[in-house]
């Protein structure tokens, strides 16, 4: 029972992390109609920046804030130099160009930080377990990820639903021609949205860094997960991304935790230990395939045409 609660929390934590990544992606996708494979690279850069800055400043919080700012700037620079020339091109061009960026970032990281991964140690105050319920302990750091991510999600919700910029973003996601007609400085809006997305990806990367090793290619697996989420949630929909992310996070985590035991009850030991890891890795892709077959536009399509 405690195990289930712990795994549920782990799933929630992973899902929220995925949401941070998916939110930026779905906004960029929904508003600018831009497929950005390099989004995972920004996630990776966030983690590397964090590992570096925490090392320099000797403070986890300060390092994290610096890393966040650095990712934001990197994202804006990237948009300014390269990506803005790709808006309006077909998706294939965008896929190809940002695929090139992944190659570039991976090798640049290898050049600067070397091929071995980095570790980002946590300060002592974040390593102690916290008692949630009588008898239920949960690592403080994971708990703080949940809290930070929920705060960011709430902020994002307020920005998107309550502010003028948010209104433009929503208008853009559901009807791209409209924002052009409103006489808005679209270039600036796009740069802002892209920077925001980059910062969110960086935040996800730097928060994940202490849990996993910081390594080259870390952004690629998780990028695919983020794509799965926005496709399930419906492209351009923040709400869809949020729900789908938590759904995917929990299913993936629970699948990995409990599927082997469940399978062992049905299958022989050897067959189960072969099938379980494959099946739990496949679970969310299976989910996405089912969703797409039943609802080809995702669960919460933002675009109504």
């Amino acid at each position: 029972m405690f195990l289930l609660i712990e795994q549920l929390l782990n799933g929630l934590q992973f899902g929220l992390l995925l949401f941070l990544l998916a939110a930026g992606l779905t906004l960029v996708f929904g508003i600018m109609d831009f497929v950005n494979l390099a989004h995972g690279s920004l996630y990776m850069m966030g983690a590397y920046f964090a590992a570096t800055f925490v090392g320099w400043t000797d403070s986890f919080v300060l390092g994290a804030i610096l890393a966040l700012a650095a990712t934001l700037l990197l994202g804006i620079a990237l948009e300014f130099v390269a990506l803005r020339h790709l808006y309006g091109r077909d998706h294939l061009d965008q896929v190809l160009a940002t695929f090139g960026l992944i190659l570039f970032f991976n090798d640049m990281v290898r050049l600067i930080w070397g091929p071995a991964g980095l570790a980002l140690p946590l300060p002592a105050w974040l390593t102690t377990p916290v008692q949630l319920l009588p008898g239920v302990y949960y690592p403080a750091y994971r708990l703080s990820i949940i809290i930070v991510a929920l705060l960011v999600a709430a902020m994002l919700y307020l920005v998107v639903m309550r502010t003028r910029i948010g209104m433009l973003i929503r208008a853009g996601a559901s009807n791209r021609e409209m924002i052009g007609a409103l006489g808005i400085n679209i270039k600036l809006l796009f740069t802002l949205v892209f920077g925001l997305g980059a910062a969110l990806a960086g935040l996800a990367g730097l928060m994940q860094a202490p849990i996993l090793t910081v390594q080259i290619g870390m952004g690629e697996n998780i990028l695919i997960l983020a794509f799965v989420i926005i496709v399930i949630g419906g492209i351009g929909s923040i709400r869809g991304a949020f729900l789908a992310a938590i759904f995917v996070g929990i299913i993936d985590t629970l699948g990995r935790a409990f599927l082997p035991d469940l399978l062992r009850k049905v299958l022989s030991g050897a067959a189960a230990s072969t099938a379980a890891p494959a099946l739990s890795s496949m679970l969310i892709y299976l989910l996405m395939a089912i969703v797409l077959v039943l609802r080809p536009e995702g669960l919460f399509p933002a675009t109504k045409r």
Partner: protein, 315 residues
């Protein structure tokens, strides 16, 4: 496909002649390395050509095409591990399994459009990747070593470098010829018509879905053949050949060479893999140059290399 004397046709002719003559050069100079490199390039060119059939001619942007490389390869590898070494069994199985996989994922994916199609094909390929990783009996994550290449008794010896090279080249030219016939056939015109305007094709009486699906299966089968060749070439198959960046590589080759041009994928594969080879000799960090290069190609050289060559002719 009107044969005119122009820059792109000239380049294609020279390249094809060079490919045919290469083993002679290699034997004369003792340069085995170049034969090995070119064998690999030819296999990837075949895979890219099959992707071009659905992407360039059919308008289906599959981001999971490398899955067939793995499926064809694993069919050969698993049968070899189970002591079934005959190519007459291995290869038909490789093709059949690839075709079946294409049929299943195609029939689901082709219900979606645009970015959703790109993503769902990607997802299916990732599923294949994880399945392969979990095959602990056949090496799991680490991959499967193939101790003996497919045997075609009395016909051809795949362990002979030159014979294997010509087999691959024959498969490539055969594949391109097949695609050429298909593209100009009734079937091919329908598929291209659907790419251009699906609604119109439905209105004049074509059930578009069936044609797209058939085309998808043909392309998957051809790529499965490339997978069988690749496994024999490296004597090894691992989940890594199915990883999504591999599918990205194939897309890059197609677009680099020129989508919807018959020899474009071959040119693209040569340029991409030779560039990779040269850059990695020059620096360990070859992707630092390759990455931005891709970006520049997309920004400034639309239509790929064949497109550029075509423009040379027009002035």
């Amino acid at each position: 496909m009107k044969s005119k004397l122009n820059a792109s046709n000239a380049v294609v002719a020279v390249v094809c002649a060079a490919l045919v003559l290469l083993p002679i050069y290699s034997a004369a100079t003792g340069n085995i390395f170049i034969l090995t490199l070119l064998t690999r390039i030819i296999i990837f060119a075949l895979a890219a050509s099959s992707l071009n059939l659905i992407m360039g001619y059919g308008g289906m942007m599959s981001f999971g095409h490398a899955a067939y490389l793995g499926i064809g390869g694993y069919a050969v590898g698993i049968l070899a591990a189970e002591d079934i070494g005959s190519g007459f069994i291995q290869w038909p199985v490789a093709l059949a399994v690839s075709a079946l996989f294409a049929l299943v994922i195609g029939s689901l994916s082709l219900r979606t459009r645009g970015v959703y199609f790109i993503m769902i094909t990607l997802a299916f390929a990732q599923m294949a990747y994880y399945v392969a990783s979990a095959l602990s009996r056949y090496g799991g994550d680490d991959g499967l070593t193939i101790y003996k290449r497919s045997t075609f008794d009395g016909l051809i010896n795949l362990s002979d470098r030159t014979q294997f090279y010509y087999l691959c080249l024959g498969c490539l030219f055969g594949g391109i010829y097949l695609i050429w016939r298909i593209v100009n056939s009734r079937f091919g015109l329908v598929v291209q018509g659907v790419r251009s305007n699906e609604q119109r094709m439905q209105a004049i009486g074509f059930p578009a879905y069936r044609y797209r699906l058939t085309c998808f299966v043909i392309a998957g089968t051809i790529c499965g053949l490339a997978g069988a060749l690749l496994a024999n070439n490296t004597d090894f198959v691992s989940p890594a050949v199915m990883y999504w960046t591999r599918s990205g590589d194939l897309m890059v080759m197609v677009i680099l060479g020129g989508m919807g041009s018959l020899f474009g994928p071959l040119i693209g594969a040569i340029v991409y893999l030779v560039l990779e080879e040269l850059l990695s000799q020059f620096t360990e960090y070859w992707a630092l140059i390759m990455g931005p290069l891709l970006l520049l190609i997309v920004l400034f050289a639309r239509g790929g290399i064949m497109g550029l060559l075509g423009r040379v002719r027009r002035g």
